[in-house]
Amino acid sequence: MKRYPLTLFLLSVALLLLACLSLALGSADLSLSSLFAGLCGREGYETERAILLYVRLPRLLAAMLAGVGLSLSGVLLQDVMGNALAGPNTVGLNAGAGLFAVLLLALAPAAAPLLPLAAFLGATLAALLVLGLAEGAGGGRHTVILAGVCCSALFQAGISLLTAIDTDLLSEYSAFSVGGFAGVRISALILPAVLILLSLLAALLLSPRIRILSLGDSAATALGVRVRPLRAVALLLAALSAASVISFCGLLGFVGLLVPHAARRLVGPSLPRLLLTAPLLGGALLVAADLCSRLLFAPSDVPVGILTSLLGAPFFLFLLMKGRSRHA
């Protein structure tokens, strides 16, 4: 019983420490005193100020927000669909965002600054399409997954076709598809932050009902839950959250899949607990990943998406093996 508050506390402390490290460290070797001088706006420390306020701070905020958003999305998707492999990828969000991004770059390259909006629209419309298809096929959990997989494949084919026709698009799309926080601005985070936090709040309010869905559709209906509308709302919240993240950092892999599993190891399967734990854990994970991406090959800037995939896969296997030995 005491473990849950302690876990939350420790995760919060870890996130805070990582945030401080993220501001203090980077590919430029700057002392704390010079950073502080830059923060205070002292003359002669303009470079330090620029690095702190316009490079490190936006990346820190973006990493935290992306961790919260993707983890929230993953928790909702896995819980609602009762599938441990569910994630933003599964319901076609990433592929939908990618397709709309490529369409924008192909049809209106001058409108490239609207890429975040295109990605957001693509992810959201993909989720609506998947939901609509699933509803038409009966609305069960498995039909949502199947519809998501089919739509993902379709969107990926569209992306491949467009990049095959215009090979210049490939380099633009590659940068977007790997995912990262380089060049992110605080102004681009405001609207996604509002959407993610509203989604989190709504998910917390609905969590007592959403958790009943895990008992199965028949049991949930018998308990008075309106299964299909609730599932649709939960999926929409997941989609909004993930789409908001995609809009400012591209297609970050593994976070939405991995973090809910790790959170379950810490606090168990209770949805309300997961909805608080997973975002903290996801935020800490991405802040740490961003820090590593800036330090490991400094002064090179490795896209965070590469690290999350490189580290996420073995860590996920570790969790699976640990879970298997526990059951054994």
Binding site: G26, S27, A28, D29, L30, E46, T47, R49, A50, I51, L53, Y54, V55, R56, L105, P109, A110, A111, A112, P113, L115, A164, I165, D166, T167, D168, L169, S171, E172, A175, F176, G180, A182, G183, R185, G250, R294, F297, A298, P299, S300, D301, V302, P303
Partner: protein, 298 residues
Amino acid sequence: MRRLLSLLLLFSLLLLPSCAATEPPEETAAAPKRVAVLFSSLAEAWQDAGGEVAITVRESVERGLVPEGTPLVDGGAGKRIDTERLLSLAPDLVIASADVPAQVAAAELCRAAGIKTLLFRVDTYADYRETLRAMTALTGDTAAMEALTALDGEITALLASPEAAAARGQRIVFIRAGGTAASTKAKLPSDHFAAAMLSELGCRNLAEEAPLLVDTLSTEAILAADPDHLFFSLMGDEAAARANVEALLSRPEWQALRAVREGRVTILSRALFHYKPCLRWAEAYRALIGIFSEEVKE
């Protein structure tokens, strides 16, 4: 049956190591008449050498090197070659780029089909010079040989000129910019011929100082290094790339750079620095030298 054989040959070619640098031309009794050139810069070089391009790719038409209606084997820059169409057009010589895997594969297929092929890699002026020498040896065009000799002399004189000394030791960042921030990346001399030219002039590319350049230099590293000059090469849609660069330079962190505040930022002209400049290579060197020597005068 022929299609199956072609597919089997292509598959086995994937297991072979890719072809490398310039290959010396085989001796031929007469100059080739029906030449397929699979890369627009090589098409220009072949024409500079006095040759005619009979078959090529769409980009050669868009650049005005060949007229509309010229048989094409790719609708773009030659990154995907329609080998079936290429074989059906029956060239007697195929010239391809060793940098493009699809062209290397197409060249191997042609070679297996008994068609003479040449692979060239043109990353620097020295590569271009050797390429042109090899091509003029095939065409026998003495005027082209003289033009190459004159170009070589001009470039040698430019590199040794007092104006060129202004570039030595200048700390630069060379950035390839697309339409989005994510596709805007600092590059090494080996990544772009203009960056190689700047290195040849004695500039210090800050990307080279990274122990291992993975993807790009971090903005932090560029800010901390505060380079003397920024060079941008635009790719993709020019208007979108230019707008992206202007938006980037207007950001507060980039405004903190002395080079940005003092106007030492150059967006390289596509006319000279997007495609290989070929016979205009001296003009390209002169343009770069001019940037540094004007700064010295100021």
